[in-house]
Amino acid sequence: MSELFRSEGISKHFGMCQVLSNISFSVYSGEILGIIGPNGAGKTTLMECMTGLLPFDKGGIYWKNRQVSPLLAKKFIFYLPDGILPYAEQRAGVVLRFFQRMYGAEKTELNRLIERLELSSMLKKQVYSLSKGYRRRLLLAIGLLSPQPLLMLDEPFDGFDLRQTLGVMELLRETLAGKTLLLSIHQLTEAEKICDRFLLLNTGKVSAIGSLEQLQKQAGLNGGSLEEVFLAIV
């Protein structure tokens, strides 16, 4: 796999609080990289910095080994924030159709996503009236319609039950044919099931990065779940 994206030494502070310290890692084409960390670890801030939605103090981002301005990162990276309600007063169907047109996606692709995410019955409902799970599915559909090759999803499994989570994982795997995924997850069980590699983030610092086997070695464990590895390292 070739390197698609690289973050080099990204640092960010809010007032006196250092929220990201020298974050460096690479994302390879066609993989699913999970940013794992407890609440407040800096996962969302890191994603927003990498997509130019927040300015960072130091460091740089690279796309295929060429440094790019964070404000131009939107050409290659799509970031789907957590907890947003796009056009909350409009019907879900209208919002999806709007983003499909804006992203230049095919209508058949939209219909496929509506079917796969079981959104058909919700299309006439206003976005704000959707349950947490359906809001998450709507956002996921918007994210998967986006044309950028690197998709960053913030907490994509939040609000899903086990069956739905497995369905979404399958859908995400299908999208790997054309996209690379960077997922921010705090549920370690789900992360272990879907991600190829993991970036362990704690208090704004990279604690470790690698596949589960590599992390197990780093933690000095002979086997063990991601949860055990995470606790051992962090």
Binding site: P55, P81, I84, E89, Q90, Y103, E109, A177, G178
Partner: protein, 455 residues
Amino acid sequence: MGAALRRCFLQLSEFQLSRVLLMQEIRTLLISPALWIMLVILSLLVGYSFIQAVELFSQASQTALSYPELASGMNPTEGVFVPAFGAYYLVETLLLPFVAIRLFGQDKQNGTLKLLLQLPLSPFSLNVVKLLAMSVVWLFILLPGVSVFIIWQYLGGAVHFPELLTLMLGHTLFVLTIICIAMFATAISDTLPTAAMICLAATLGSWVLDFAAGEGGWMGALGAWSLTTLLRQFESGLLSSDSIASFLALSLLFFTAASVLLHPGRKLCQKTKPLFVAAVALLFVVFTIMQVPQYRDVTENRKHSFNPADVRALQQMNKPLKITIHLAPEDGRLYDLEREVLAKLRRTVPNLEVVFANTQSTGLFGASENDNYGLIEYEYADKHDMSYSNSSFEILPLLYALGGLKVTPDVIPSYTGHPLVADASNSKWWFYLLLPLMFLLSAYLFRQPQFLRRQ
């Protein structure tokens, strides 16, 4: 699949994306209850103002029909349209900011902005699209005003289109500025209530400043930039490059600031530089325009102009003309002098200096102890004269004598006025019932999924 999608994305031009986004923003506005509530209130206020204005105009017209010399005071723009559009001023100042802030601020509050900023559209383009969407609102807002025009014509009233169009231009520029202020307020606030407070502080503050516009000093200078003061020129039928430039410059300044500040990914230092450059450039443009002011009196009774022969003669007076006024700012005579003579002279005489002498009202009943009080002195080409008159009929001959000019006024048809005795009370059904019902029905229809499916 991803590569194909990416190709589509890149193929969509900024224009096509903006068009799709514009439709979405219009849809957002049309399902907004705030818009329709504002329109209902506007309809009621315009209707009330119009019916009252026609009633007063009719009462005055009855007297004018008996005494034709009074008819010249019966101007429908002043008597009917300006009062009816007074309701617009209220709505534009107090309610429109909420509709605008809702459109601009909601994206920020519910996170839509984070998705929009990832589109291949600049923050400027995003704001232009929203501004265009708001222009659709302006078309809706115009409906009660257009009704006033149609009903007035149906009642047999006269309309002088240049005056009416100037009035509407003034309100359009006023609304544009308010919308840009609202845009700026949402860009610098985190919540909608804060943005509303900032915007209302600007609009109401401007209204308060208008009271200071007539006074001297820095408050008076600041008051001259009040939006209300600027609008009043259009209401009075005076089209001036200064006012248009001021409205446009203020709008552009707030629009630029809002667009620069919109993107959270820029550092503060990256934001301040373009802001500073924009502010300096706009100040320079406005200053340049103000050096060569252009005026056009669009009133039917030419109330802002001297006789064309007088204008030609005054324009020939190239040497400095100094007028020293011994009147207190609050004196009613000064108001008449300013309106009837000084304002017209400022627009005509190339080199005019108006000086206010120190006049302190310390005498009995506030009267001045100064013997010169009330005197107006004129100096031109080393000649000096003075008068207590504030009428152009006395002042102009005095000036011509100083300039050694002889002026024979051109013969122009005198304004005979348009008195009309009419009853507009039946229009209450339209303004108080039908139009509000139409707005409420539209609000209902636009919120229906059937409507949205057709989009």
